[in-house]
Amino acid sequence: MSASWKQLSSQILLLLISCRHINTKTSSPTQPPLAPITPLKTDVRSIVLKGESHTEKMELVNPVNLTLECTWTGNQNKLPNITGYWRKDGEEIQNSRLSVQFHNGQYNIQQVFSIVSEENLGNYSCVFGNEAKISFILEAPQIGEERDKPIISYVGDSAVITCKMDDAKPMPNTWNWYRYNGTEKEQIFVAAEPHHYEIINKERKTRLVVHNLTEADSGLYYCGAVYAIGTTMSHVELKVITFMEPLKPFITIVVEVVVLVAAILLYERSQSKKKATAGDGTTADQKNMLPQGDDNATEGSSSMRQRKV
């Protein structure tokens, strides 16, 4: 499905380039224009600006002919004519400058953009004579919950990394997983290493299971939600450590416990020895006071003894 969309979109792009002077990176002037198979949907977004600037976020899923309309109420000057132009990602779009009339108390400027692939997404701004600006941020649905802390796992164990698209947002077509190998994101293909990786996609959720971990598996992993318009990414870090790491604090604390228990019991023994040498006379108490760690029967054995007064 995505292959035919790509072809179609590049054809339409060509058409629009010749008609609309939109600055794109994928110009292919040698291809003959083809009639579009299905027309793109159209959409309109209008913003009225009363102050100096405004930002509007838009999430797009499918390719669309998007009309962006900016209306500005003007400032104190209220010049009859100002220059308006469009920017994409900070750079001025060529041949988009127009002279805008002050009509019915507002300046109005609009433009139709063809958003068909990932390169067309970005920050589109309409600028009114260097004074007012409305920005439209066009992007594919972003993955909301991103885990900021690394997942810790152990050598020989398996690690599970999940990604989820919010229920409120549209469902992705599929999910891809990538691994950062120092220079670029490399896609993980389960078929290449079926015993090592496992990917389970379930509509909004995806799980990457990495089996038989080694320390080399540590690093950044990216999950990509694939939409017709493009892919959005989210990343998670995986850290693989050996079992020695938690073992060190474990042993430290166990030693501390043993030392404290021994200290308390020894203190008790010395106290009762002091009492004995002070002439209390009854040995019953000493037997009562010295339970060893494994000896559970101290009080049970002494329960039948009567004391002489």
Partner: protein, 481 residues
Amino acid sequence: MPPPAATNLGYTPPDGGWGWAVVFGAFISIGFSYAFPKSLTIYFKEIQEYFSVSYSEIAWVSSVMLASMYAGGPISSMLVNRYGSRPVVLVGGIMVCTGMVLASFGTSIIHLYLCVGVIGGFGLAFNLQPALTIIGTYFQAKRPLANGLAMTGSPVVLFTLAPLNQFLFDSFGWRGSFLILGSIVMNCCVAGALMRPVNKRVQPKPTNESPKRNGGGEEAETVNTGAQSADLLNEDSQTASKGQSNVHKLIDISLFKHRGFLIYLAGNVIMFFGFFAPVVFLAPYAKHLGIDEYSAAFLLSIFALVDMFIRPATGFIGNTKWVRPRIQYFFSFAVSYNGVCHLLCPLASGYLGLVVYAVFFGLAFGMLSALLFEVLMDLVGANRFSSAVGLVTIIECGPVLLGPPLSGALVDIFGDYKYMYYACGVFMLVPGIFFFIMHYYNYKKLDEEQRQSVAVEMKTSEETVELKMNQDDKTVDAADG
């Protein structure tokens, strides 16, 4: 001056000295028992993803742990009756440690149920009962204060464990954290080492010359002379005259005929349905009202902080000469106050309203928790407390486990939290009023019995004096004759 409610111990409790070290040990044991299951919930999300199970399956780990802790009560009581507190706590600490270490190597969720849930839960039961029991052996006059201080362990340990668990999780993942938690929980063994069996050689009041017995010793030998009945002033005198069976040494089933115990049990069973649910649902309710996650978590911190300070304060108040003789009314007040608090909660609007509710709820919860076991000791006496608390916990097991899911069901059915709060409020207010009425009646009966036994004692001491005089006369006659 505290009433001689349970001075048939046969010795004078130290009410201080090493007792405070024991309170510290109990503080740690009780703290781990209550806070440990609650603090494990931080790991649930990752464990849930790792084993790919549903949330309710992972929540079962907590439930199994809590259920084992409560169900292990009678076994724990039997062991304490037989061996005393110290060995049981030592074994308990080692058990929880073993459970956690085994769980860190777990390969399935069932593994976790068994290791963390069953072994861990029983280990905690072996910590809770002995800790409560030993306070009764060391304190009499200052017992409410000691109980209040020991029960403060629960919020303090929870407060410490929560960020610690988060840190462990971020550094070591869930497996490493379970391993290290196993070692941290071994500090219960240190607490156990502190629980030196109390020195019963200390001479009691001169009238009592009965031979003393350790542990949950019963007063079978003290019954024979009327002179000793001066100390048997409380309701235990009713059962002391009966012969003590061997089963009695293990666990005291005759408690079920004890009026005060039955009142306590009946009220508590209803009360526990509404006891924990509001704590569990405080944060979700706040989020439901649109409050963000951190502020909702902060509410729980406020609650825990207020709880922490009110427990020793309640213990102190319970110790004063105005409250101690009628401490059951104080407890009834605490239960009713909880109920009123929950009934008024739906009126709280916005974040500030919820903060106010959290403060009042913290007060109520802390008061109730500090008195929960003190009033049981007051009713049945320190000798039978061990068995009593074992029986109470296993019967409370049901409401404790069913309470939160039932409340959750209420929330799901009505889609609104206020019905759950109304239900919890009712579940606490009704037992509160029940306690007030029943204890009024109970105190009247106790005063009556006290008057009666004083009269009996006077009569028997008169008779023994007469008997002695007759014997003297006879010997004089014999010597003469």
